[in-house]
Symmetry: C6
Subunit: 76 residues, 6 copies
């Protein structure tokens, strides 16, 4: 995972949103590096409404950062 995030610039808000989803996941990966454990946890939170809403909150926070980086795509 050397330079896995070379830039926050994306062509569209849609791509920016996808990047936000990715950023939300990476912190989990860096805190729990064991892929087998993560897979097991994923099965749990995918079926838990509160966990999904919490994931959505993390995505919202990253999306704000990415939108800012892209000048909110106002020039697009």
């Amino acid at each position: 995972m050397d330079n896995w995030l070379p830039t926050l610039i994306t062509a569209t808000p849609s791509e920016g949103y996808d990047l936000a989803v990715k950023l939300a996941r990476i912190a989990v990966k860096k805190t729990q590096p064991d892929a087998a454990v993560r897979e097991r946890l994923r099965e749990v939170y995918e079926a838990d409404a509160n966990a999904l809403i919490a994931v959505s909150q993390v995505v919202a926070t990253h999306f704000a950062t990415i939108a800012h980086a892209n000048n909110h795509w106002r020039d697009a």
Copy 2:
């Protein structure tokens, strides 16, 4: 869901708020792609005060981003 979010610009704050609600939902969709599971979870959190407040928090975060993108509709 290719370019499902072409812009963050909306005509009014009301429309910006609706977009925030949409953005909050998309993260759940991307984390739990199975519509049947989501429908079942929706029945749960729609009747749970804490879950509804948590959804409202995600919407608030996205609304901040969208308001910023629209220069807080000050020119409207």
Copy 3:
């Protein structure tokens, strides 16, 4: 609820705070459109300290957005 939010501009911080409270409630309304269910949930969270604090958090997030929109009422 067509154009229920024509502007984020308010005359005073007090009115801006009231608008933040309103924005926090609207997301609940849009997620749970049944007024009878919302009334029942309201009775629950009105008597729950953690839920009230969580509502206060949502209001704080919206108030930040509204304050920003009003240039923090510095010109008032």
Copy 4:
């Protein structure tokens, strides 16, 4: 509570912090207007670590807004 919040400007960061504490409490008041119920809830959350941390989070969010309004008291 007509114009209970005429301004976000404070002389010092300390006063700004006190205002943030006040703003955090007002949302609870507006959601649960019954002072007797609030008093009972207060006894609960005052002795609950998680609730106190959650209150501190709300205060932090309001303090950010107030600091912004005061240009972070850089000119003080």
Copy 5:
């Protein structure tokens, strides 16, 4: 605690971080003024992973404010 917070300006990000930790604690102090109760609660949350993460979230929010106040120490 008259003017306990005369400024948000710090010499380094490290000191800014320490100030953020302090600000997170003050809200708890102002909500629960009894030092003996706070000490008892501290023993609880110090050994609770979720509480520690929640504290870290409050610190992160205050650190953002302090970093902003210090122009992110870019001139340092």
Copy 6:
């Protein structure tokens, strides 16, 4: 831990993200200084989906600050 954080400037977003992970952990360290206790807690939250998502939220908040400090690496 004297001047453990001399700057928020990083060469790339990837490095900025790593710094955000570090900042999230430091608050835990400062609140619970006993390394043995932290190690025991780590084993708990590493296997808990909700705790991992909460950590990811803290990282997202710090990443926003660091991205801002680096002008979102737009000049990179």
